[in-house]
Amino acid sequence: MTAHFDLIVIGGGIMGCASAIRAAQHGMRVAMIERASIGGGASGVNAGTLSLQIKRVKLMPYALAGHRIWEEAGEQVGFAKTGGLTLAFTDVEAEQLRERMTAKREAGAPIHFLSQAEVREKAPNLCERVKLASWCAEDGYANSSLTGTYYRAALREAGVTIIEGADAPLLARAKGGFQARIADEEVHGTRILLACGAGLEPAMAMFGVHIPVRVRVNSVSVTERAPRLVDPVIGHVTGLLTLKQKGNGTVLIGGGWQGRIDERTGASEVDPETIIPNLQLAQFVLPALARLRVVRCWTGFEVNVADFYPLAGPLPGVEGAYVLGCVRGGYTIGPYIGRLMGDLIAGREPEMPLFDPARLLAAAVQ
C-alpha cells in the first residue's frame, strides 16, 4: 500500500511536530512517521526548564519566542513562570556569571543581578554561600511529560497523519520525491523533513549526506513530593544544575550530567557515577534535599554538531529534503524553530533566519 503526501516528517519530537503542524497549516498534506511514540524521545523526558539564562546568546531571540509559545499552551503543558535564579559560589564563578549574564542581557533577556538579601527573599531555603546571583523574571518551566499528549492532539487537529511505532523506517529518494518504507507499507512524500533527534546522522546518511552528529546522554532525577522548599527555577553558572520544585511538590534535578549507552540495546542509561555529583550539587544548593527520597532518575539523548548551533535548513545537495535538530535548549526553542521550518518547507519566508546545515559540510571538507 502506498500513501502520498506533500511532506513526510521523520521523528515525532518537538522539532518534527512543530514543523509538521506549521506545514499543515499552510495547506500541505503531511505525514508524521515516528519510530516509537510522539514525544517519546528527548522532547518528552527533558527537564522542562524554560530559562533564558541558559540559552546561547545567538539563540536568544528564538528562545524568547519559544517561551511565548509555551506560555500560550499554558496548562496543557504545565507551564509555570516562576522566575529563575542562577548562582555562583566562588569568586571565579561570580566573574563568569557576570560576564555570561551581561552578554545574555545584551541579547535581549531581561536578566539582572541580585543582592544576597534579595536572593534570600526569593528563595529562603538556599545555601548561604551564594556569592552572586542573577535573576530573570521570564524564566520558568513546563512539564515535558505532556509533550506527547499535547502534540499528538495538535497534530490530529492540524490534520497530520500520524504513524507511530514505525520501527526503523527505510528512507530513500523516489520518483517525484521520497519514500519511507515501514514493514509492508510505503509512504510517499514530495518533500521530506528529517527531525529524528539522536537518529539524525544515520538518517542523513541514507541520502548520502555525512554530517557528524555527537550523541550525548543527559540525566534527570526527581524526588518524592515535599512541602514547598523553593519557588524559582534554580541554575548554576556552569549549567551543571537545573532545579525546580514542581506544583505537585516533587523536585526535578538536571544539569546535563552524562549517562551511558547500553551496549546491547542502544538505550540511554543512568550512570550512578554522574548522578551522585549532580545530586551533591543540588543538595549543596538546597540543603533540605538531603531528607527527600529520589524516586526516579532517567536519561535522554541530546545531540549537537561541531559548532553547537542548530541543524536547520535544506539537506545539502538533496532537493526537497530538509533537516531540523541539534538545537541546544531545544525544549524551549523547539516550538518556534519548528514553525520557521514549516514556513520554509511550505515556501514561505521564515521571519527569522535558520541555520543552514551546509556550513558543516564546508567545514568537513576543509
Binding site: A36, S37, I38, G39, G40, G44, I54, R56, V57, F89, Q96, R100, A103, R129, S145, L146, T147, G148, T149, R152, R156, I162, E164, G165, V222, T223, E224, V237, T238, G239, L240, G256, D262, E263, R264, T265, A267, V270, P272, I275, I276, P277, L279, Q280, L281, A282, Q283, F284, L289, A290, R291, L292, R293, V294, V295, R296, C297, W298, F308, R328
Partner: protein, 465 residues
C-alpha cells in the same frame, strides 16, 4: 565490608533461592556476597519475625548460611545494577558499590492485586501481605473478614484467621472446584503440603465458612473502613448479578508477579507467561539470563514457589562456578542434572499452585476504580489517555503520571497494560512493561551523597556562550 568490594559472586535476595545460591557458591570455594534489604535471611516465606525463638525451615536456612563462608550485607537495599555486574546499595553506612564476576538475582515476587472500585479503602489488605501480618506479627486483618482472589493463599489466610480467633465472612474464589481438583495430582507430589492444604480446607468446611466459587469482588463498600464487599459471578455483568457481603476487612489477591525491575533495568530479555505470574526474565535450564554471567532464580524469574526456589538457586550457583572456571564439566553436568531432576519433582506442587492464580492474570477491570495509588490516577483517566493515542506503557505514564510515584509502577503497570490491550484488541502479553529506571527503591538524597565538599564536585567547563 569495605576492604574487599570485589567478589566472585554477588547474590541479591536472601530468600530461599538466594540463600541456597550463596551457600552453594561458597561450597564451590567462590567468594560470595549476599545482599538483602531485610535484617536477616528468609525472604518472604521464612521471614524472621524478630521475636521469640528462631525455629523451623527458616531457622535451618539461616543456620546454614551462618555456618558458610558467605559474606552478608543485610539491611542493604540495592538501588542500581549494571550489566558489568556493578551493584550499588544503600545501607547503614550509606552508599556502597560492589562488583562481581557473576551476579545471581533472587529478588522474589510481589503481589498482584486487581483494582476494583473501593480497593483503596482502609481494611483492604493484600492476600500475601496478610500472610506476613498473620505469621510474623500475629495480627488479624479484621474480626469478620472476606478472603478473596485466587490461589492457595485463600485457604492459608482463611485458616489462619480462624485459628487466630477471627471470623471468615466468606471466601470468594475466581476458580471453581474443578480447578482445585485438577491440582490434586500435583498436590500428591508433596504429601506434607498437600495434607496441610487439605487440613485448612477441612477446618473451613467444618466451620461452614461460605465459599463462593467462580466469583469475584466487584466493589468494596465503606468510606473510612470496609463495611461490605459486592460479589458477582465471574464473567457475569456486575451490576445485574452482584450481591453484598458484610465484613470489616478484605484480604484480596490474585497471585504473585515476578519482580522484574532489576532485570529490566539491565535490559535482559523477558517473556510473558501467565502460568509463571506474567512478565519474567528469561532464564535457561541453568538459570542463565541473556546477559553475560548474570543468573536469575526463584520467584523473581517466574513464580514456582518456595520448594523450587532453592533448587534453582543452587543450579544458578553451579552455572556461575562453571562459567568462572571453578568446576570441571563432569561434576557440573552430574550435579546440575541431579538437581534438575529433583527440581522438576518438587516444582510440580508450586507450579500447580501458581496455576491456580492464572485466573487472576487477565481478569478485566471494572471501569471506574483508582488504578495508581501513588499518583491517584483513575481507570477513566487512563482510558482517555489511551483513546487519545498513548498506546504504550511509557506513553500512558507520561500522559497521566500513572506509575511515577514511589512504587515505581510495580502495582499499576499490569492494569495499564490491560487497558491498552483492551483498546488495541490484543492480548496483554503483547504490551511490553515500561522502561525501568533507577533507583530500584526510593533512596534519600542525603544517604546517597554521604559527606562531600563543594570543592569536590567535578565541575566541567560551562557550555559555549
Amino acid at each position: 565490608m569495605t576492604e574487599q568490594p570485589h567478589f566472585d559472586v554477588i547474590v541479591i535476595g536472601g530468600g530461599p533461592a538466594g540463600v541456597a545460591a550463596a551457600v552453594q557458591a561458597d561450597a564451590k570455594r567462590l567468594s560470595v556476597l549476599l545482599i538483602d534489604e531485610q535484617e536477616r535471611a528468609g525472604g518472604q516465606v521464612y521471614r524472621w519475625n524478630g521475636v521469640g525463638i528462631d525455629a523451623g525451615p527458616g531457622a535451618e536456612m539461616r543456620a546454614r548460611l551462618a555456618a558458610s563462608g558467605v559474606r552478608t550485607a543485610f539491611s542493604h537495599r540495592c538501588w542500581h545494577v549494571q550489566p558489568d555486574r556493578t551493584v550499588r546499595c544503600t545501607g547503614p553506612d550509606g552508599n556502597m558499590t560492589f562488583t562481581a564476576d557473576a551476579l545471581i538475582l533472587a529478588t522474589g515476587a510481589s503481589e498482584r492485586v486487581t483494582p476494583v472500585p473501593g480497593w483503596t479503602t482502609p481494611g483492604v489488605v493484600g492476600l500475601a501481605a496478610a500472610t506476613i501480618l498473620l505469621k510474623s506479627e500475629g495480627v488479624l486483618p479484621g474480626r469478620n473478614v472476606v478472603v478473596a482472589g485466587c490461589g492457595p493463599l485463600l485457604l492459608f489466610v482463611a485458616a489462619k484467621i480462624i485459628a487466630g480467633g477471627g471470623q471468615v465472612a466468606a471466601i470468594v474464589d475466581r476458580n471453581g472446584p474443578s480447578d482445585w481438583l485438577s491440582c490434586l495430582p500435583a498436590a500428591m507430589t508433596n504429601p506434607k503440603l498437600g495434607m496441610e492444604g487439605a487440613g485448612w480446607a477441612l477446618s473451613l468446611l467444618k466451620r461452614g465458612t461460605p465459599i463462593h466459587f467462580n466469583s469475584r469482588i466487584v466493589a468494596v463498600n465503606g468510606d473510612d473502613e470496609v463495611q461490605a464487599v459486592s460479589v458477582a459471578a465471574v464473567g457475569e455483568n456486575a451490576s445485574s448479578s452482584a450481591h453484598s457481603i458484610a465484613c470489616d476487612a478484605l484480604c484480596y489477591g490474585d497471585g504473585l508477579m515476578p519482580a522484574t525491575e532489576m532485570t529490566r533495568l539491565l535490559h535482559a530479555d523477558h517473556d510473558f507467561d501467565a502460568a509463571l505470574g506474567g512478565w519474567h526474565v528469561r532464564a535457561d535450564a541453568h538459570r542463565r539470563t541473556s546477559l553475560d554471567r548474570i543468573y536469575a532464580c526463584g520467584d523473581g524469574a517466574g513464580v514456582m514457589g518456595a520448594a523450587a526456589a532453592p533448587v534453582q538457586g543452587r543450579i544458578a550457583a553451579l552455572a556461575a562456578a562453571w562459567d568462572l572456571g571453578k568446576m570441571d564439566e563432569a561434576r557440573f553436568e552430574a550435579e546440575t542434572q541431579r538437581l534438575s531432576r529433583y527440581g522438576q519433582r518438587v516444582s510440580r506442587f508450586g507450579a500447580a499452585m501458581t496455576g491456580l492464580t492464572v485466573a487472576g492474570v487477565r481478569v478485566p477491570l471494572t471501569g471506574s476504580e483508582m488504578i495508581c495509588r501513588c499518583e491517584s490516577v483513575s481507570h477513566d483517566e487512563l482510558e482517555r489517555a489511551v483513546a487519545a493515542g498513548a498506546v504504550t506503557v511509557n506513553a500512558v505514564k507520561a500522559a497521566t503520571r500513572c506509575g511515577m510515584g514511589p512504587c515505581g509502577g510495580r502495582y499499576c503497570v499490569p492494569s495499564v497494560a490491560k487497558i491498552i490491550a483492551a483498546h488495541e484488541q490484543v492480548d496483554v502479553s503483547r504490551i511490553a512493561p515500561g522502561t525501568a529506571r533507577p533507583p530500584l527503591r526510593p533512596v534519600p538524597v542525603g544517604t546517597l551523597m554521604g559527606d562531600f565538599a563543594y570543592e569536590d564536585i567535578p565541575f566541567r567547563e560551562p557550555a559555549p556562550l
